[in-house]
Structures are given as structure tokens and as C-alpha cells.
């Protein structure tokens, strides 16, 4: 009896030690596909992609989602301007065995002109026989006007010992609009040891009012800014004219200034020697570029930063809070965004 008791216990122990955790597949409710419009219109870019939404667990290929036979209309202040036209680039690629296949890229709908007028409302309607008609509307803001720009070199030390320049910008905010903007400064400068007469550098100032600067330092480090400044532009935190509509916007900022650490390769190697007297940089002019997205695009971009943080195969994707990304598309998904740009050059 005693032996059988222990056999019973051992059997139970064996049963227990099997893996407790089990994983099973769960079916999702069926998703009804809708049109997806994604457009970031601006004076240099009139592209809009049209695709279809899919179930969260559907197999994903580019071919399956793209829609190339939709009809797209563009309205300005409710007046029909024209239709978008579809464009795609087709490349023929040859295999080692001389066979070939086609690769499709740059597939988008485009409008041949850039008619965008600040203060106008633009609407896009996209029709397709298989999906409900989707439409989106957005407003193009005016750009703040530059009143003055001052740059003072060597006011502080930044990351990795690089020098920071102080930037004071005064802008006139367009009245009656909810404005968001960011800006970059392209400076033209020279250096006695440089092989070139003048050099260009695109920089993004850090505002010193606390919150915005903290955000920037959180989202990116210096290498991101220097290495991939164009793609970063879209995600750069925006300033707002909240509570300052129509007023003069005074911004105190810092920016990394040209220094040996920035472009050491073009400088005299002797400058890197201890105790060397390094000649100063001379700034000749600065071009300030101001980007003003529509409110919809601002909301979309600022939320997209959070969305990216919680994606991928990491713990954040499991415990990150769900985010319903802003959309201004009716009967569909995506974003119709429009940006205005302004450029002002200041000579020193």
C-alpha cells in the first residue's frame, strides 16, 4: 500500500512538471477593408498613396495593399480643381540566368501642379468600385514671418563637449490660426583651414524654455540629428502658438555650432594637437527654414512618434498603451496632411 502511494505521488509529480503555459491561436473578428489615403502635400511634393486596410492578422505583401485604379478628385475651398494621376516606376531586373522580372516602386497618385494657397481648405475624394468612397479635408496655414535672428557663438557646452551657439528668433505669428511650426537653420560659414571657401550646415536649434528641449534630448541624440537630418525633420517636435495667437513669438534656443568635432576631416590635423591654437569659424549668413504643418498633420506626426516606440518585437509592444492614431479621413483611414514652408536669409 505504501509503495503504491508513492508511485501515485511520483505520477502526479510527473504530470505536474509538464509545461504549464500553453499558447493557442485566437481568431479575430473579420475586418471590413476600407480605402487608406496617405498624403503629405507641400510646395515640393504632391504625392498621395492609396491602399486598402486589412485585417490585423492578414498576410502582408505590398502587392496586396496597393490600389492603382482609384479615381481621386482634388477640391480647393469646395471647388473641384482636377483629378490626381497615378504614377509608378517599373524597373526590369535581370537574373544571373538572363531571365528578368519587373520591380514596381514609387507608386503614388500625384497632382501635376502645386496650387496650394495658405488660408485655403483642400479636400480629396477617392473612389473605387470595391470600397466605400473615402474623403479627407485639411487647411493650409500661413507661415510665421521672421522678424529677426541673432546667433551668438560659444554660449554653452553641449554633449560630448561640443560648443553650443545661442539663437534668438523673433517671429510674427499669423493671427486667427492654430499654428504649429518647427524650424531649421542653414548656416554658411568659412574656416581658414578648410579646403572649401564656404560650407553649409543644416542645424536644428534646441529651445531653452525647458519642455521642448527635454523632449528633443529624449527622442534623439546628436548622432541622429547629424546623420539623418532630413528624415528626422518630420518627427522633430513642434512649437505651438497656443495662447500667443497673432503675437510676436520670441524663441531662445541653442544649437550645435560648427566646431572641430563637426567636420574634423576637412580641418588641418595640426588643430587636433594638444595646445594648438584653432582658428575660429566665421559665419557669413544663415537661412532659417520654417515648416508649418496643418493641425491634422501635426497631430498625426506627434502621435506617430509614440506609435513607433511601441512597435516591433520588444516588451513595449506588449505593455505599451494602445494608440488610436489621428486621422482626418472619412469612411477610410490615413491622413491628408499639408505643410507650408517659409525661408528667410539673414546676412551677418
Amino acid at each position: 500500500m505504501k509503495t503504491s502511494k508513492w508511485i501515485f505521488v511520483l505520477l502526479l509529480l510527473g504530470f505536474i512538471t509538464q509545461a504549464c503555459e500553453t499558447v493557442i491561436e485566437v481568431p479575430l473578428p473579420e475586418h471590413e477593408p476600407k480605402l487608406v489615403l496617405n498624403a503629405r502635400l507641400n510646395p515640393f511634393n504632391n504625392r498621395m498613396s492609396v491602399s486598402r486596410s486589412r485585417g490585423r492578422t492578414d498576410i502582408i505583401t505590398e502587392e496586396m495593399s496597393q490600389i492603382d485604379d482609384a479615381t481621386s478628385y482634388l477640391f480647393e475651398n469646395d471647388i473641384l480643381l482636377d483629378t490626381f494621376t497615378y504614377y509608378q516606376r517599373v524597373d526590369t531586373v535581370y537574373n544571373d540566368d538572363s531571365t528578368d522580372f519587373r520591380v514596381y516602386s514609387d507608386r503614388f497618385y500625384t497632382y501635376p501642379k502645386t496650387p496650394w494657397q495658405a488660408g485655403s481648405t483642400y479636400r480629396v475624394e477617392v473612389m473605387h468600385p470595391d470600397y466605400p468612397t473615402a474623403s479627407a479635408e485639411t487647411y493650409m496655414n500661413h507661415v510665421p514671418t521672421l522678424l529677426s535672428l541673432e546667433i551668438e557663438q560659444d554660449v554653452a557646452q553641449g554633449k560630448e563637449g561640443l560648443s553650443l551657439a545661442g539663437v534668438k528668433v523673433r517671429l510674427q505669428d499669423p493671427p486667427g490660426e492654430e499654428n504649429y511650426f518647427n524650424y531649421s537653420i542653414q548656416i554658411k560659414y568659412s574656416h581658414p583651414d578648410s579646403l572649401q571657401d564656404t560650407l553649409d550646415f543644416l542645424l536644428i536649434p534646441f529651445e531653452t524654455d525647458g519642455s521642448l528641449r527635454a523632449e528633443i534630448e529624449e527622442f534623439v541624440d546628436l548622432d541622429d540629428i547629424l546623420g539623418d537630418i532630413n528624415s528626422f525633420w518630420s518627427f522633430f517636435p513642434y512649437s505651438s502658438d497656443e495662447g500667443r495667437d497673432g503675437q510676436i513669438l520670441e524663441i531662445d534656443a541653442l544649437m550645435y555650432q560648427p566646431s572641430p568635432g563637426f567636420s574634423g576631416s576637412i580641418l588641418n590635423p595640426q588643430n587636433a594637437q594638444p595646445g594648438a591654437s584653432v582658428p575660429e569659424y566665421v559665419i557669413h549668413s544663415a537661412v532659417i527654414g520654417i515648416s508649418c504643418p496643418s493641425k491634422d498633420l501635426y497631430l498625426y506626426q506627434s502621435q506617430y512618434v509614440l506609435h513607433r516606440q511601441n512597435q516591433g518585437v520588444n516588451l513595449s509592444s506588449l505593455i505599451g498603451e494602445p494608440l488610436i492614431l489621428h486621422s482626418n479621413v472619412e469612411n477610410g483611414y490615413g491622413i491628408l496632411g499639408i505643410s507650408n514652408y517659409g525661408y528667410f536669409e539673414v546676412t551677418f
Binding site: I16, C20, T57, I60, T61, E62, N310, Y333, G337
Partner: protein, 793 residues
């Protein structure tokens, strides 16, 4: 005007205080004759005068009666009632010692009936009933028993969190011998920290809170440890599949001082560490264990003074060790790596209590408590080759320290009044997360710093007054008020919290009850609302984020049925909460660098309402209960879900439980339980679309969430557990074999969901890889049989 008000108050109180002039007071304690344990809430009645009272939380009673011949009857559930008759001429002090009833006699009505209690929404679960329930891996669990009561829900599979009447797990005041506990789980929530062997009483209050309790919105779980046997030494123990426990208690000085010591430890690590070490050829090992230690010292200094010293120490410890060494030391190919990951969390609780009798009508209790909850993660790594040596030491620590002082009085001025008043003071220290990083290279320090959330040190002080007034046998009122002052970072918060419970005896076995309570909580719990993966962060109210507040109203009936063998209650409640906080959309609890306050949305409101029914049988060969809850639970935040109201994660429309234990004879008993709950509400993406920046990779897909936050329901949760006990008397005491089947029909209840993404290439078409995404459900436990061996001597 002020003078008139004072006069009115004095005129009302005068009859209460003047009563003592023409009466005598019988006071004393009620205790168990066998072990000297004080019996809480035992009934003391004078049948002739038709007046009565009941013992307080320390077994003390005081009853003022007219002088002359009188008879007193003392009763307590599970004990033989005791009656004495005597001539009362002066104040008397009596110690009643009750004897345990034989099993058959227990069927007789032997306690104060539920319809006679003024308080409502209170559940007492007898420890013997908890111990009779089926176990999980041989471990009896108090919290799992509480979760099966109506109005109480568990979170997920294996989660020992309590969700009471629409509240969150942070909204429960869990007291162990008067000291608050902040985290009551082992093994990620599968077991609770309470060792049932060491406990004397488990009492859950879901609404109509007496004013002496405060600081949480939704419930009070008041747990008392055993005082220790004052008469003789005895012990109980249990050997289970994953843990063993042992309790010893006995007199240090007979009838004067006793001690109770209890310990529990799991031993999976004792097997897993050597097994993994040898299985990996001495390269790595891992282990996990949890352990609890309870102790209580009880010393009767004099008939008027008694002290208690209690402690609870509990830890969970998880460790991974990896060691690799290749090549010959000193040679070019030499490499040595090591990695140590240590994760631990646990509670330290200390409580000192001093009971003092100032007179036959005034009892006081002074409590000094110290609770410390800590969470620590440490990751140490080193690498060495022929020319270099590098070290990294990364740690993360968080914790809560709570130092409290309570001075409380029970005053019995009149047989129709029992007055309680007191003051509470708490100093708290919250460390919501400190990260330490050390990096060294070739014996030089490259990085050595600490950063993280600011340590916060609030003060919380309270004063309360409550009176239980029984103007006649059909009507009673329990009214109270609590005032709280909370101070943090130069900011003060004040709150006044009225409490009221009413009872009207509508028929001999039926009473109607109503209650109203206002509660304020200076503590928040941040938890994610995504796919169900647990991630909790406790944070205090700060100068920027205010406290949570709630009011709750409840109405119901209580009755005793079928010769008083059954209690039956029906209650309906409505609770309104405000000042709630939540993670903002898109925030991740683990994204570094940003203080938690910058990731939250504030000013949320919540409302919960529903009805509960409970049919309970506490005594006899067959005991158990049937409970059912129908409830709704909503949250609204201006900055979440476009400002629209959404269901709370634990909005559970239907929740039902059945618990039955049957004792066939002295040797065999069988128990079973079944629980059912509507699935949790989660936010689940049902669709997706390309982003503006899409490169057609899943990372850039934007998810579609249907109707909004928490609009998707997980499948319903249901589970049946079965247990059988075989007991046998032995020369040295008795032993019990317990065989249990947790999740007897192996229901795959959801623990959490996740999207599983795989990319594959078909027919060597590398330019068109196919991405497959599947929604996967993780379930924790299939059927889990277990066996345990219990003994007592």
C-alpha cells in the same frame, strides 16, 4: 449661532453619558478555552434586558446594565454558548472561556445572525472553510477564497489581485494585524503571501466602511494572525509539491505569554539550480523560490494591559547565473564571460500593539506599524579576454515604506451606543524607480551613476469618530466621520469622509440595510490596458496629481433561512469615482528617461454599479456558498478614447461562484468550487493600414481599434477545482492527505494575448517575403493535480 450648535450637540449626548449614573458595567474578554485565543465579534447578551453587545477586534466587551439579578449569555460561531446568572451590584470584569462545539451541535444557531448586524457588505470567511477548499499545487490560498465572493473579482488567470465593486487592485486596504500590505502576491500573482495556518480571521468589507478604515476606495481586507496558544504547545505543518510550511505555537509563560511562529518555503530552486547547472555542463543555472515567515508574541502584562508584537517577512527571489570560459588563461584565445541576473521582491512588516483598559467602558489600542515593500532587479555582466576586461552592473530598485501610528479607543457609554474614535498618522516613502548603472573597462570606471524617479515622502494623518447606535432591537445606525490631512512637497490635501450604515428589522429573519460612504485614496496604481500583460507601478498622490475619491451607496437585505442554517444577502450598489489616473495613449511603462507623471492622464472618472447575491452556509457537515454578481464598470478620461466613456478592463457583466465542502465523516471530506466570469475587456487591434511613412513592414503599420478602448472581450473565464481530504488520527496527533485538481476540466483561460509575427520566403522569392501575423493567447494552467500531506500535533 455657534453656542446654539454646541448646546444642541451636548443635549443629544447628555443622555448617553448620564446613563452610567444609574447602571453598572459588565466588561471582560471572550476567549477559546483550549488555547486562550481571543474571540472576535462574539455576542454578549442579557436576554432579560434584551440588550447586548459584541466583542471588539481584541475580544473585549463592555455592557452597561441596570443593577440587580442578571443573566448573561455569550455565544460564538462554532462554540458552545455559555450562560451565567449573578447579582450585579458593582462593575464586574468577567473572562468567558468558550468550548468548541462538537460537529453535530454546530448546526444549532450559535452566533449573532446576519440580519442583526448593522454593517452591510461585510463578508467573514471562516478559516476552516478556506482550508477545506481545493488547493493549487497543495497551497491553500486566502485571497483565492476571497475572490470567489460576490462583488469580488480576480484579474487574470492565477492573479491574486482583488477587484471589488468596480475598483482596481490598488483600491483595497489590506491589513495584517493592523499594518498595511501593498503587494500580496507570490510568483507573479499565482499565490498570495498569506499563510492560512497562521491566520485567525479574514474579514472583507466591500462598502459601508466604518470610519476607522480609510485610505482606499473599494474594500478593506482585515486579516488577523493567531495570537499563539496560551495553554500548550502545538504545531501544524504541510508538505506539498512545491512548498512546505510549519507552524509552532505555545505558551512562553502559561496563560500569560505566548508565541506563534510560522514559516513557508518553496523548493523548486533546490531542484532546478543543480539540475540546470549539470544539464548545461556547468555553464548556467536558474532558480526561483518564495518564502514567508510569520511570528507573533502575545504578552498579558495585567488584566488591563496586553501587548502584541507581530511580524511578517516574505520574499520572492529569482536568479540566473551564466559562466563560460574558453581557451587557456594567458593565451590569445582566452575568453571568460559571466552573467548574473537577480530579481527579488518582498514585504517586511512589523506591528506592535498595546491594549489598555482605562476603565470598564473605555478600551484603547495603540498600534505602531512599519511596512516596507521593495522590488529589486540587478544585472551584472563581465567579459575578459587576453587583453581586456569589462564589467557592467545595472540595477533597478523601487519600493514603498509606510511607518504608521494609530491610537484608537472603544467607548461604551450606554448599552445602545458603542463609540469608537482615534487618530492615525502615517509617514510614507515612495521610490518609484531608481536605476543604477556602472560600466568599467580595464579596471577604470567609465560610467557610474544613479538616475530615476524622484523619491516622494508624504505624510497622511487622520482622525475619526463613529457611533453604533441601537435605539431598539429593530433599528440600528452606524454613523461615522473621518477627516484626513495629506501632505506632500509643500502641498496639503484635506478630506472629510462621512460614513453611514442603517439597519431595519422588517421581519424576524429579515432586515433591510443601506449604507453610504465617502472614501479618499492618496495612492494610485498605473497599469497598462493593452493585451493583458501585467505591469504595475504604485505611485502616490503628488503636488501635481491629486488623490482619488469615491462615494458609494448600497441597499440590500439580509436574512437567515431554513432554521438559520443559511445566510442570504442581496445588495445593489452604485459607486462613483473621480481623480483617477491612467497611462496616456501610446505611453509605455518602461520607456526610460521620462518621469511617470509625464506619461499619465489625470482627472478620470469612473462609475460602477450592479447587484450581488450570496447564499452562504457556514456550519454543519456541508458548508459553502453560491454567489452571483451582475455589474457594470465604466471609465471616462477627457484625453483618452476621444473623451468617450469606455468599459474598465475588469468590467465583468456576470460573475458567479459555487463553493461546497462536505464532510462525509471524521476521515473523509470532499470540496469543489466553480467560478465563472465574463471575459476581460481589452483593447485589441482588429485591422491595420499603411502609415504615411510606410515601407510595408509590420513596424510601420497603424493599428485599427474598432469602436475604441477596451471594446474587445476575452473569452469568459471559468474553472472547476476539486479536492479531497483523507484524515486520520495518529498517536502523535493527526495527519491529512489532500488531493486536489485545479482547473479540473482543463479550461484554457486567457492570461494575455500577443501578436506573433513571422516573415517567410516562398519559392526563393526573396523580393516578396510574406509576413504572417497571428493572434496568440497564452494560458497559464491546464488541469493541475496536486497532493499534499498535512499534520498537526
Amino acid at each position: 449661532m455657534k453656542n446654539t450648535t454646541c448646546l444642541c450637540v451636548w443635549a443629544c449626548l447628555l443622555p448617553i453619558f448620564c446613563f452610567g449614573q444609574s447602571s453598572i458595567t459588565i466588561s471582560g474578554y471572550v476567549s477559546d478555552q483550549q488555547n486562550g485565543e481571543k474571540l472576535l465579534r462574539a455576542t454578549v447578551q442579557s436576554p432579560d434586558q434584551k440588550i447586548g453587545t459584541y466583542t471588539n477586534d481584541f475580544g473585549f466587551f463592555s455592557l452597561s446594565v441596570p443593577a440587580g439579578t442578571m443573566r448573561l449569555r455569550v455565544s460564538y460561531s462554532g462554540y458552545e454558548a455559555q450562560s451565567i446568572a449573578f447579582i450585579a451590584e458593582t462593575d464586574s470584569f468577567i473572562e468567558f472561556k468558550l468550548q468548541t462545539q462538537s460537529l453535530e451541535a454546530v448546526e444549532i444557531r450559535a452566533e449573532r445572525q446576519i440580519e442583526e448586524e448593522t454593517e452591510m457588505s461585510v463578508v467573514d470567511i471562516p478559516l476552516r472553510q478556506i482550508k477545506a477548499m481545493p488547493t493549487l499545487l497543495g497551497e491553500v490560498d486566502v485571497i483565492r477564497a476571497v475572490q470567489m465572493m460576490p462583488g469580488v473579482q480576480s484579474g487574470n488567470e492565477g492573479n491574486t489581485g482583488l477587484y471589488v465593486r468596480g475598483g482596481g487592485p490598488d483600491q483595497n486596504l489590506i491589513l495584517l494585524d493592523g499594518a498595511p500590505l501593498y503587494y500580496v502576491s507570490h510568483l507573479g500573482g499565482i499565490f498570495s503571501v498569506f499563510n492560512a495556518d497562521a491566520l485567525q480571521q479574514v474579514r472583507l468589507i466591500k462598502g459601508g466602511f466604518p470610519a476607522r478604515y480609510g485610505g482606499r476606495l473599494s474594500s478593506v481586507l482585515d486579516i488577523r494572525m493567531k495570537d499563539g496558544n496560551l495553554k500548550k504547545w502545538e504545531g501544524t505543518g504541510n508538505v506539498g509539491l512545491i512548498a512546505s510550511r510549519l507552524l509552532l505555537q505555545g505558551p512562553l509563560i502559561k496563560d500569560k505569554a505566548s508565541i506563534m511562529i510560522s514559516a513557508r518555503r518553496t523548493y523548486l530552486d533546490l531542484l532546478s539550480r543543480p539540475a540546470t547547472w549539470f544539464a548545461t555542463e556547468r555553464e548556467s543555472s536558474f532558480g526561483y523560490y518564495f518564502a514567508d515567515f510569520n511570528a507573533k508574541l502575545n504578552y498579558i502584562i495585567s488584566p488591563k494591559d496586553r501587548i502584541y508584537l507581530s511580524t511578517y517577512i516574505g520574499d520572492d527571489v529569482f536568479g540566473v547565473k551564466v559562466r563560460t570560459e574558453n581557451g587557456t588563461f594567458g593565451a590569445d584565445d582566452y575568453e571568460k564571460e559571466s552573467l548574473d541576473i537577480d530579481l527579488s521582491w518582498g514585504n517586511r512588516l512589523y506591528s506592535f500593539r498595546w491594549n489598555h483598559l482605562w476603565g470598564p467602558r473605555l478600551f484603547s489600542n495603540l498600534t505602531v506599524t512599519h511596512t516596507f515593500y521593495r522590488f529589486a532587479l540587478r544585472n551584472q555582466a563581465s567579459y575578459q579576454d587576453s587583453g581586456t576586461r569589462s564589467e557592467a552592473d545595472v540595477s533597478y530598485n523601487s519600493g514603498i515604506r509606510d511607518i504608521g501610528l494609530k491610537y484608537e479607543f472603544d467607548f461604551y457609554p450606554h448599552p445602545k451606543h458603542q463609540i469608537r474614535f482615534g487618530v492615525h498618522a502615517n509617514y510614507l516613502q515612495y521610490s518609484p524607480g531608481i536605476r543604477g548603472v556602472y560600466l568599467g573597462f580595464n579596471d577604470t570606471t567609465a560610467v557610474d551613476n544613479n538616475e530615476g524617479n524622484e523619491v516622494l515622502r508624504p505624510w497622511q494623518n487622520a482622525i475619526y469618530f463613529e457611533d453604533e447606535w441601537r435605539p431598539n432591537s429593530n433599528f440600528s445606525v452606524h454613523a461615522g466621520i473621518r477627516g484626513v490631512h495629506y501632505w506632500i512637497k509643500q502641498k496639503s490635501y484635506f478630506s472629510v469622509q462621512p460614513r453611514l450604515s442603517l439597519r431595519y428589522q422588517a421581519a424576524p429573519n429579515l432586515s433591510l440595510k443601506a449604507s453610504f460612504a465617502v472614501m479618499t485614496q492618496y495612492l494610485h496604481l498605473l497599469t497598462n490596458s493593452g493585451l493583458g500583460v501585467p505591469s504595475d507601478l504604485w505611485v502616490p498622490a503628488t503636488d501635481e496629481i491629486g488623490p482619488q475619491q469615491a462615494w458609494q451607496v448600497a441597499v440590500g437585505t439580509a436574512s437567515s433561512l431554513w432554521d438559520d442554517k443559511f445566510n442570504f444577502t442581496i445588495e445593489a450598489y452604485y459607486k462613483k469615482m473621480q481623480g483617477l489616473i491612467s497611462y496616456e495613449a501610446g505611453a509605455s511603462p518602461i520607456s526610460g528617461g521620462i518621469e511617470w507623471q509625464e506619461k499619465v492622464v489625470t482627472g478620470g472618472t469612473g462609475q460602477a454599479y450592479g447587484g450581488e447575491a450570496l447564499l452562504q452556509k457556514k456550519y454543519g457537515n456541508t458548508t459553502g456558498w453560491i454567489g452571483y454578481t451582475l455589474s457594470w464598470n465604466w471609465r471616462t478620461f477627457a484625453d483618452l478614447n476621444r473623451g468617450q466613456t469606455f468599459p474598465y478592463k475588469y468590467d465583468r457583466r456576470h460573475d458567479a461562484s459555487v463553493v461546497i465542502s462536505h464532510k462525509f465523516n471524521e476521515r473523509i471530506s470532499l470540496s469543489g468550487s466553480w467560478i465563472f466570469g465574463t471575459g476581460n475587456a481589452i483593447t485589441l487591434a482588429t485591422g491595420a493600414y499603411n502609415s504615411l511613412y510606410s515601407d510595408y513592414s509590420p513596424v510601420n503599420l497603424i493599428e485599427i481599434y474598432g469602436e475604441g478602448r477596451n471594446d474587445f472581450r476575452m473569452p469568459a473565464y471559468h474553472r472547476m477545482d476539486i479536492g479531497i481530504n483523507f484524515s486520520k488520527p495518529k498517536k502523535w496527533g493527526s495527519r491529512t492527505w489532500n488531493i486536489s485538481f485545479y482547473n479540473a476540466y482543463s479550461r484554457r483561460n486567457p492570461y494575455f494575448y500577443y501578436f506573433d509575427t513571422t516573415r517567410s520566403v516562398i519559392d526563393n522569392d526573396w523580393d516578396n517575403p510574406i509576413t504572417e501575423i497571428k493572434l496568440k493567447q497564452v494560458s497559464l494552467f491546464p488541469i493541475l493535480p496536486s497532493v499534499s500531506y498535512g499534520f498537526s500535533f
